[in-house]
């Protein structure tokens, strides 16, 4: 009974101030679009981060006096380990060449560097998903082989890389949060506007003996309807935009990051819409408080 009355009064509200509601929904669509974009970035950055955190590398520096046989044996052992996907031998000469390539140094300058600055090494690629504890264990074992000078696990480099991606992700998360605040502000203001415009109506209802919940009903409904309409529209638009852009950049993006981009998962989409409905309802109820004191 009361819900029907609330519904019919909500309809009356939409009828009386249609333009305001259209403006409100439009600005909410924009806000949710921002939110969706931010969530999409977070989702894909997270995927890249988890992919990259799995790609790891290790270098085994060999002593100058290391015997060929020792090295060959070490290679065999390493190749037999499941955690290591590839082993490459870099000679001291090649190391010097590579350094020269990377640094663009003249051969004269290069010649001045001490010979032991460029030890021969075994470059190891690790399989996906090897935990860092295991890596440290392998490193410790390899260390004990004859001919091994030092084992570099690049913990600091990968740590740095990961922290960079984490920074990107938390940036995106922060942005999402900002957008959420913005969405809240827009919803809040829209509802305040609707409520302030209908101050007289609320006063009349209260003075004629309406309970607070009776007065609140249609406003809460309107808030929910607006928020759900706007968030659904925004998600649809975002999907259309995603589908349109996807084809253009997917291949390059995949090549660069090694990760296929994905759209928000359906649960996130539904969750966003549900959260919007919730915020719409709460926002309406809160905005009313001030005017219910009659």
């Amino acid at each position: 009974m009361e819900i029907w009355s609330a519904l019919s009064r909500a309809k009356r509200g939409f009828r009386d101030d249609l333009r305001l509601h259209v403006v409100a929904i439009a600005s909410l669509v924009v806000a949710f679009l921002c939110l969706g974009t931010a969530l999409l970035s977070v989702e894909n950055l997270t995927r890249i981060a988890s992919r990259w955190s799995q790609t790891q590398h290790m270098t085994v520096y060999l002593r100058d006096q290391a015997k060929e046989a020792d090295v060959a044996q070490l290679r065999l052992v390493l190749e037999s380990l499941g955690e290591i996907s590839k082993v490459e031998h870099i000679s001291a000469v090649r190391a010097r060449e590579l350094f020269a390539e990377q640094t663009n140094m003249s051969s004269a300058d290069l010649a001045q560097l001490p010979t032991d600055a460029f030890p021969a090494s075994l470059e190891l690629d690790l399989a996906d998903g090897v935990p860092s504890a295991r890596i440290e264990k392998i490193a410790a074992r390899v260390q004990r082989f004859a001919g091994v000078e030092e084992v570099e696990t690049y913990r600091s480099f990968f740590g740095q890389l990961r922290s960079l991606i984490d920074a990107g992700r938390s940036g995106a998360l922060l942005l999402s949060l900002l957008v959420v605040v913005c969405v809240l502000a827009v919803i809040g203001n829209t509802i305040r506007l609707a409520v302030a415009n209908r101050r007289r109506e609320i006063e009349v209802l209260k003075l004629c003996g309406a309970t607070d919940s009776f007065v609140r009903g249609p406003f809460v409904l309107e808030g929910v309807i607006q928020a759900v309409t706007a968030s659904t529209l925004a998600m649809l638009l975002l999907f259309v935009a995603y589908a349109a852009l996807h084809g253009h950049v997917e291949s390059t993006l995949t090549a660069l990051t090694g990760v296929r981009t994905v759209f928000l998962n359906p649960l996130t989409v539904l969750g966003t819409i549900a959260a919007a409905a919730f915020v719409g309802a709460i926002g309406s109820a809160l905005s009313l408080r001030r005017y219910l004191q009659v």
């Binding site: 009356r12 109506e201 009349v204 209802l205 003075l207 003996g209 009776f214």
Partner: protein, 267 residues
């Protein structure tokens, strides 16, 4: 029809708080004010030591100069304001001690004509009158017929679909009256309900209130209009300088007093 709890009120939801409790001892007054004080400014009370007892089924005029506290008196009854000292009993219940959540149930027993109408300008006339039935949960069909009847009684038959803001001042006032009477309340509080009406229509509206009163409703009628006071035999109370004076000696004595007061006021 002498009992306001009976009649057509089958569809009207009234909490037991305000009903039945005193059915057995019907003579118990519907409204009692005891030593009521109301201060809007710290030093000057707007109402001072007001004592008023309104029996069930009475018709009481309240009059007094502008700014004397007539509206305030009515507002205290429907809990727009609360008393600063003293108490107000409606059907034996202390109005100032109601919780916020039971105020609506108090108001559902009242029909209120506000001095500034308080109609919603962008609603239709019909919607403005029907709102008080909607709040009571009256079903739509019954509501339609009762709103139509109320509009006819105030002389606005057939104008239900007009936007209220396009009505003339007097017409809006009559919409406010229709809204107050459509629920057939136990107590009708009318604050200057004829201020924007021509003399003939004012008398018509007074007649309407008297009819409703005949049917058992208690009426508290605040007005300036001396021609109305002159033609009616009802009880009259006067508020002046915040004090309530029972004009039991008849209108004429009070009127003479008013004239002298008015003269000094105009100086």
């Amino acid at each position: 029809m002498a009992n306001p709890g009976s009649g057509r009120k089958g569809n009207v939801v009234r909490p037991s708080v305000f009903r039945g409790k005193h059915r057995d001892d019907a003579p118990k007054p519907i409204l009692v004010m005891e030593e009521v004080y109301k201060y809007f400014r710290r030093d000057v009370p707007t109402l001072r030591n007001v004592n008023l007892t309104v029996e069930r089924g009475e018709f009481v005029f309240v009059t007094g100069p502008s700014g004397s506290g007539k509206s305030t008196l009515l507002q205290l009854v429907y809990r727009q304001h609360t008393v600063d000292s003293g108490r107000i009993l409606f059907s034996g219940r202390d109005v100032s001690r109601l919780t916020d959540s039971s105020i609506p149930f108090l108001r559902r027993n009242l029909g209120i004509v506000f001095q500034d109408f308080k109609v919603v300008p962008h609603w239709t006339v019909y919607e403005n009158v029907a709102v008080s039935l909607e709040i009571l949960g009256t079903n739509a069909r019954l509501a339609r017929s009762r709103v139509a009847e109320a509009l006819e009684r105030v002389g606005l038959a057939g104008r239900g679909n007009e936007r209220t803001e396009t009505l003339s001042g007097g017409e809006q006032q009559r919409v406010a009256i229709a809204r107050a009477i459509v629920t057939e309340p136990a107590l009708l509080l009318a604050d200057e309900p004829t201020g924007n009406l021509d003399p003939q229509l004012a008398i018509d509206i007074l007649t309407l209130f008297e009819e409703i009163h005949e049917a058992g409703t208690t009426v508290l009628f605040a007005t300036h209009d001396h021609s109305l006071l002159a033609t009616s035999p009802h009880r009259l109370v006067v508020i002046d300088d915040g004090r309530l004076i029972e004009a039991s000696q008849g209108l004429r004595a009070w009127s003479a007093r008013m004239q002298s007061l008015g003269a000094s006021h105009a100086s």
